[in-house]
């Protein structure tokens, strides 16, 4: 870790981040003071039981949600104080998302789903190229309903990487897939991380997946309970669960 800290640029810097949901009378503390730095090019896996605040943290990092208190900065840019316009711009040019349920637009083909994002990006790759990266160069004109779950998820990844984002945020990308298909998807993510140097945060329930990470962070009840650097980083192909 010390090696990383010395040599690499800090992409995200979070300090004292809390998130409180007001549910009528009750307050739900989803995050209770998170301090965290994420470095350029690393692949981080977030682990933790259901309800521990993983998605909440990821959403705040991705500018989908704002913290109740504390600070989050991206390359020194304060996200906690950004307005809607600034967050939109931040998401548009810097972040790629992958979701558990793929969330493709059913009325658009694979290629068009990717194009919907590249059209508003600054230095995008061609949608076809992005689909090639995830191994779907041959399914360009299929609609989501004509594709398997794994294929849909890989399109979602293609969509996320096509704009050449600096960070890739993935919330349980393999959650809805069997292990073989899951590995294909993880390979795609690994390849993007390695070849494009995209900083990647990956949420999972699956401790097995943690072995492909540079660093593993455990959340429990809204706090970081453990954090360690993988000395041996395994290829996605070698994983199993």
């Amino acid at each position: 870790m010390s090696e990383l800290a010395e040599n690499r640029e800090v992409v995200f810097h979070a300090s004292g981040v809390t998130k409180v949901y007001q549910m009528g009378e009750v307050q739900v503390h989803a995050l209770r003071g998170i301090d965290l730095d994420l470095y350029a090019g690393e692949l981080v896996v977030l682990l933790g039981p259901s309800g521990s605040g993983k998605s909440t943290l990821l959403n705040i990092l991705g500018g989908l949600d704002t913290a109740t208190s504390g600070h989050v900065s991206y390359h020194g840019r304060d996200l906690t104080r950004a307005g809607d316009r600034e967050l939109t711009e931040y998401r548009r040019y810097h972040v790629g998302f992958v979701f558990q349920f793929y969330n493709l637009i059913p009325s658009l083909t694979a290629r068009e789903n990717v194009a919907a994002v590249t059209e508003i990006a600054r230095r995008p790759m061609a949608p076809e190229r992005a689909l090639e990266v995830v191994g779907l160069g041959h399914r360009l004109d299929h609609f989501p309903s004509q594709l398997s779950g794994g294929e849909q998820q890989r399109i979602a990844i293609a969509r996320a990487i096509a704009k050449n984002p600096e960070v890739l945020l993935c919330d349980e990308p393999t959650g809805a897939l069997d292990s073989a298909t899951g590995i294909v998807v993880l390979e795609a993510l690994e390849r993007v991380n390695r070849e494009l140097g995209t900083t990647t945060v990956l949420i999972t329930h699956n401790a097995g997946i943690a072995e492909m990470a540079d660093r593993v962070i455990h959340l429990a009840d809204g706090s970081i309970s453990d954090m360690h650097v993988n000395t041996v980083k395994r290829a996605a192909r070698e994983l199993s669960w």
């Binding site: 959403n59 939109t88 994002v117």
Partner: protein, 787 residues
Amino acid sequence: MRALDKKVLRELWQMRGQALAIIAVIVSGVTTMVMFLSTYDSLIQTRENYYAENRFAEVFASLKRAPEHLLARIQLIPGVERAESRVVAAVNLDIEGFNEPVIGKLISLPDAGDARLNQLHLRRGRFIEPYRDDEVMLSEAFANAHRLQPGDHLSVIIKGKRKTLTIVGIVLSPEYVYQIAPGAFFPDFKRYGVMWMGRNGLASAYDMDGAFNDISLTLGSGAAVGTILDQLDDLLKPYGGYGAYAREDQFSHRFLSEEVRQLRTMATVFPLIFIGVAAFLLNVVLNRLINTQREQIAILKAFGYSNAAIGLHFVKLVLLIVLLGITIGVALGGYWGRELSLIYMEFYRFPYLHYLLRPSVVVVAATVTVLAAISGTLLAVRQAARLSPAEGMRPNSPVVYRASLIERLGLQRFFSQPTRMIVRHIQRRPFKSLLSVIGIALAGGIMMVGNFQEDAIRYMVEVQFSISKRDDLSVRFTDPTSRRALHELQAIPGVQHVEVFRTLPVRLRFEHRTYRTALEGVQPEGELMRVLDTRLQPVALPPQGVVLTDHLAKILGVLPGDMLTIEVLEESQPVLQVPVVGLSKQYLGVWGYMRIDALNRVMGEGEVISGAYLAVDPQARGEIYAQLKEMPRVAGIVVRKSAIQSFYDTMAETVLFFSFIANLLGATIAVGVVYNTARIALSERGRELASLRVLGFTHGEIAYILLGELVLLTLVAIPLGFLVGEGLCAFLASQFKTDLYRVPLVLESQTYANAAAVVLFSACASGAVIWHRLGRIDLVSALKTRE
């Protein structure tokens, strides 16, 4: 094309059924608006051109008889531009092969040169040759009704003397765009004709040599009409002037203006309903669409699409639907507008049509529609634009259902589970359900308006001709005559009963308000002519005083008990003070009524009559007509029954056209609302219904849950539709209330039944489509995705 725009197009295609239903409603609105407004503009424009080209006069007056040199003095009234004197004669006609009485109006033309005012438009044949006294020109409507052609002969009885004339031309006149016999209530081209002949010939036949009995004027710009009318009245008074009037009060012009005004009302009311319904439908559909697309919206935002871009995306979808509707609507409206204008042109005998579809009409129609659509969907779009991405990513919170009224009243054991599902679902969205009900009700209401016209006219005719005027025929004398003429009429074989009447042209005055009409003296306890009270019951006229049509009393602002000033426009033109003693109801025209003996007494004239109502033996009609025609003093004979029949004949086509259109439009709305409501229910509850199918429910059982709701809404909507229809008809009736006619609010049960039937039929048709879709519901895919 950008990916998001492809999404718009594909989604539009996916919901094409719903979009089509909405487009049809928009098309109806834009079409009616463009059709009515362009017809309105065209009629106004055509009329203006026609009037200007043919020098339609601005002031009119008729009188008993004045020497021709009076014309020079009239010409000197300041503000008068041109003046033209004429001889106008009421005549009886003999048409070969047509046995019924025909009356006509013969109008003089200058013997040499063109008429200065009210020039004729020649359709066929030629103008009268100078100084010919045996040539005549006929109005086209009359000529066509009898298939008369230039070269045919016509036998005219002027003051009891027969004269044979040769028809040389068929013409149109700006004065008789709307042609109706004096005292009649609707046009009857077979039994009333307007004709023109040379001045000399007519004057010598009508004892008007060197004299005139009719005058028309045009005025210089900026002339004060009021003072000119007064000055003209003063000049004509010694010569038996019947009172001058301006163009606004010229009968044909008045009627046309009334029609044009009605077009304007229609151009507002109908499109507003359609466009309102369309806005509601768009709102419902878009709300649903945005609800199902919460996650998609969130994703797009997560990837950096701005709020504005998302909002615009949905606005585009709405605009696409609306623009399609507007385009088709403008095209159809333009086409139907021309057709409708042509119908009007034929009906009103304009020589030509200047069809005018102003760009401003299109702009107004488009703007109104777009604004309504946008405002109808604004909230939904805003909701989409504002949706926070983290929020949208989460599934919609489960729909909250509550125990319904049925459970709270403890009635559940009387209702099946599916029935309770129906009630709960309606209760969960009471406002939306209410809007659907209102939409369907509007559909019913519009159809009722379509049939209202016919119901009202039938009723007006029934009141006027079965309850009030019940004569077989009426005879009018050229001049007031002694009551002894009664015995002559009674002596004709076949005449069963005769009642006399006295009519006087009058100007009624109360405070500063005046109104020109006629006063009719009727026989007390008459059987053939009965004055009706405001509850349409025949009343005995009081021995003194005048009874006014209620609408006339309103115009004059008088109440029973007030003293009315009556300026008689005949004989010595006395000014009388007579108390108003009652009000009477009638739907056509406005009149004053007195007992004939009371009228004779206040006029100080002895037993004088103007004409008589006759009840006759139907077998003897032919001979009676023949005998009457030859009586020297008879100016005109009107046969009641044939007049009514010909009126229904001319009306039948228009009425059919209107009720067809109204039913079509109403059905469009009904289908639009029911189909969209059902489709949305299907999309909201597809998973639920698919799950029930998985659990073993049958196609029929799940259809019951979905369609039962629609049936319930439709059944609630139908009676509400009756109320809406009554309201709309009442509104239109109040808009169309004039001194020419008042439209009674009468709706036959058939009209209600028709509206209900079309609504039910439209609902069933939509239901059938949904039934079919439910049969193909995909159980597997419905359960696969998460919602």
